[in-house]
Every structure is written in C-alpha cells, then in structure tokens.
C-alpha cells in the first residue's frame, strides 16, 4: 500500500496536471485554493478526480477546513 508521502505526491501531480500548474511549483504545505486559484466548483472537480484516481469515496464535508495539500492527502489516505 502507498505511503502518505506517495499519496501526497500523486495528489500534487494530479492537481498540477489538471489545473495547468508546473508540478514542481506545488508543495504539500501549499494552500490549494490560492496556489491553484480555484473556487468551490473547481474544488469539487478536484475531489471527483481524486475519488476516481484513488478509487475512493470522499465526502465533501471531510474537506471542511482543509486548504493544504498535505491535509488533503491525509483525508484521502484514510480512505485507502
């Protein structure tokens, strides 16, 4: 099974690819709203892609208060 670090890396790559940001510019501690310039609708888009990529179901309320990639990865990892 993947580690949390691996999961975090996959999320950074997925977000970079989908939102057209150079992968090397995203770090685990970054605020994804600010760094990706996304709103709530686009956050749902990201959520769907994460669910598909990791084959999980992640209720959107679990993202309440989450704004950095590392914490997002922890939420995803907990569902693997």
């Amino acid at each position: 099974m993947a580690t949390l670090d691996q999961t975090t890396d996959e999320i950074l790559q997925l977000a970079a690819k989908h939102f057209n940001v150079p992968a090397g510019q995203l770090r685990p501690e970054d605020d994804f709203f600010k760094k990706l310039g996304i709103n709530s609708l686009q956050t749902l888009d990201l959520l769907t892609r994460l669910e598909q990529h990791f084959h999980i179901e992640l209720p959107d309320y679990e993202l309440q208060g989450v704004s950095d990639f590392r914490t997002l990865a922890e939420r995803v990892y907990a569902r693997l």
Binding site: N39, S40, L41, T43, L44, D45, T48, R49, E51, Q52, E57, P59, D60, Y61, L63, Q64, G65, V66
Partner: protein, 267 residues
C-alpha cells in the same frame, strides 16, 4: 414548437427528440427568468408530444447542469417584504415550479437528463423529473438545502424516494453531501456514465434507441412504473414553506449572497 431561443434556455426538435438546453450564467440557477421560460416550454410541449418520441434536457454551461435555485434572486426579492408576503411569494414560486416538474414527469415523451458538472438542489430535482439520467463521469449530485436550513422544495424528496433506497436518500438529505456519477450509478440513480463531455451524445444515442419502439407501449410502461407521488409533493411544499419562515434560513441566505464563491456552503 420546433425551435425557441430565450434568455435562460432554448429548445429545438432534432431527429425525433426535443432538446431543451439550459443556458443561463453562471450555472443555470433557477429563478424567475428560467421558471418563466420553463413554463413557456411546458405549454409548447403539449403540442410537440405528437412530433417527438423523446425529450433531452442538457446544459450549455461548462460549470454544470444546474446549481439549483437562484438564491441571490430569492434573497433580493424577499427584502422589504413582510413575513406574510414572503411566505406567499415563496409558496407561489414553489407551486409554479412544481407544475413545471410535474409536466416534465408526466409527459408522454421519454425524458433523458444529460448531466455534466454539478446537478445541485433544484438542478438535481430537474434531472429527477426525467425518466433517465445520463451523467458524464465528472457529474456530481447533491441536495445542499439542509446546509441552508431548508429541505429540497422542487419535488426532489418524493422523486428521489421513488428511484433509490431510503438509506441513500437519508444520507444525501441529512449530510447534504455531493456524490459523484459512479456512486450515483451504483445506487441506481444514474442509468449510464459517459466519458467527460460526452453525456449529450450518449443521451442522443439513447433517445434514438427509444425511438425505435411503439410510443403507446412505451407510454403504458412509463405510466405503470413511474407513479407521480402527488400527495408527497404537496406535503413537501408545506414543509418547505414552514421551514422557510425561520430566522436561520434568512441568515443562511444572507451568508450565501454575501460570498463571492459560487457555492459558499461547500468546502
């Protein structure tokens, strides 16, 4: 009935199917403009039922199918009104939208919602009035009303109950969470999941298939398996109107309209 182009939606007859396309920025919020044009559509639909075999609902907005009720318009319209006038205004809107939803639910045409992006609240309810839902893999469905101190008011609860298991209905209503297309299909809500951007094409192919069969038989089958839950629909209006008078609802609406985010009640 052949074509119509309005400010919130358009329709045309194409290959035996009427295509009703929602197109009001930002995400097909259902307010007085959209409601008025839907009412025009329902009036025209009666004469069109002899010319077509299917009705496809879709959205031209990239953000999604529909974000639901136009809460900003609702909040704006309620300002300065006394409680009694507010209640009357809300009830009037609900009864009008229910007439639209019921007409879609009852039409002799086989109806298909082609959903991409978000189908939230009233947008979800519009899809639920259809016989079939085709969703692209990025679609999400949600009843966020509880987050605003309300319940779905456009007929969503009785229609959702009609289609899927009660446990899933409770989950969606009580958590207000959104579910993706794959989950929606797994619980029986969505009949087909299409590739991203391909829901309309799949809906058209499905409509073409439906068009091969005898209309009277199809209608008899539809009437048999898809009862209209009239008493529950009326009860939903009553409950919604009762809840709407509570101060928490106005507070929720105010918070919504003061935000610049499209869906401020979501993470």
């Amino acid at each position: 009935m052949r074509t119509f182009s309005g400010k919130a939606l358009s329709w045309e007859l194409r290959d035996g199917a009427i295509e009703l396309v929602l197109d009001r920025a930002p995400c097909n919020e259902i307010g007085s403009l959209t409601l008025g044009e839907l009412e025009q559509f329902i009036t025209a639909l009666k004469s069109a039922e002899n010319e077509a075999h299917a009705l496809i609902l879709s959205s031209a907005r990239k953000e999604g199918f529909s974000a639901g009720a136009d809460l900003r318009e609702l909040y704006r319209e309620l300002q300065g009104l006394a409680a009694k006038e507010r209640a009357r205004g809300v009830r009037d809107f609900l009864e009008r939208i229910h007439r639209v939803m019921n007409a879609l639910d009852e039409t002799t045409l086989t109806t298909i919602a082609a959903v991409h992006g978000i189908a939230f609240g009233g947008g979800f309810e519009l899809a639920l009035a259809c016989d079939l839902i085709v969703a692209d893999k990025m679609a999400r469905f949600c009843f966020p009303e509880l987050r605003l101190g309300l319940i779905p008011g456009f007929g969503g609860i009785p229609r959702l109950k009609r289609d899927i298991g009660n446990a899933v209905v409770r989950d969606l209503l009580l958590t207000g969470r959104s579910i993706n297309a794959a989950k929606a299909q797994s619980v029986g809500l969505v009949s087909q999941v299409a590739a991203e951007g391909d829901a309309l094409r799949v809906a058209r192919a499905t409509a073409a298939q439906i068009g091969k069969f005898d209309r009277q038989t199809a209608l008899a089958a539809k009437r048999f398996i898809k009862p209209i839950p009239r008493e529950e629909l009326q009860r939903e209006i009553e409950i919604f109107c009762e809840l709407f008078t509570r101060p928490a609802v106005e507070a929720g609406l105010r918070k919504f309209v003061e935000s610049t985010d499209p869906l401020p009640y979501l993470p």
